[in-house]
Point group: C2
Chain length 88, copies 2
DNA sequence: AACTATATTGCCATATATGGCAACCTAACC
DNA sequence: GGTTAGGTTGCCATATATGGCAATATAGTT
């Protein structure tokens, strides 16, 4: 077994995006911020629409996007992506 | 001061991509793997060309790409992105 | 010199993240 | 009822990550 079925790969991707998205949402809400509040704290421009898509796992955000979200939420990049401790 | 000059934003992005890229390269070489070895260990298909581009900071990888690289290198996603401890 | 392994760069095509806006949906108000 | 805040979804355009291959570079070895 060296390969992974394509559908499995899609499931792995979907789970990852959902887990990270939920983690972002959890941290944002812990800080008492709305999605709009978040984008106003982000470096540069960002569309609030995409926050919803990222938090719900519909988008596969880039490294730079994740970095700007982490900064806006006042957490480190590793913290933002560490969903293992929060009960997956 | 609420905004960031566009050139500053580009510099922040460039530095981030370079730091994470170097971290990936460092971990890969510590494990004694070539770029080709890395892609063969990654889930699904990945082009070796893009490993070079990511390690040199020319590409802004997606979350799923970072996840697959982390898995192939046998480190956690937070570890892969934690370049702060390694001397920036 | 030649050969091999590894990495970089360039080019083009495709897939998709993001920008931007409008419409819609709840829930909580008055 | 209406209004507001927050979030979602749909649509389209643009930017760019990735796929894929070829060419080049570079270092190591014989």
């Amino acid at each position: 077994m060296t390969s992974v079925k394509e559908s499995d790969l899609d499931n792995i991707r979907a789970e990852l995006l959902k887990n990270v998205g939920k983690n972002i949402q959890r941290i944002r809400e812990q800080k008492g911020l709305s999605q709009f509040d978040l984008i106003t704290k982000m470096l540069g421009e960002f569309d609030v629409t995409n926050v919803s898509r990222i938090e719900s796992g519909r988008n596969n955000p880039t490294l730079f996007t994740l970095y700007r979200i982490a900064k806006a939420l006042d957490v480190s990049l590793p913290q933002l992506l560490d969903y293992s401790t929060t009960g997956k």
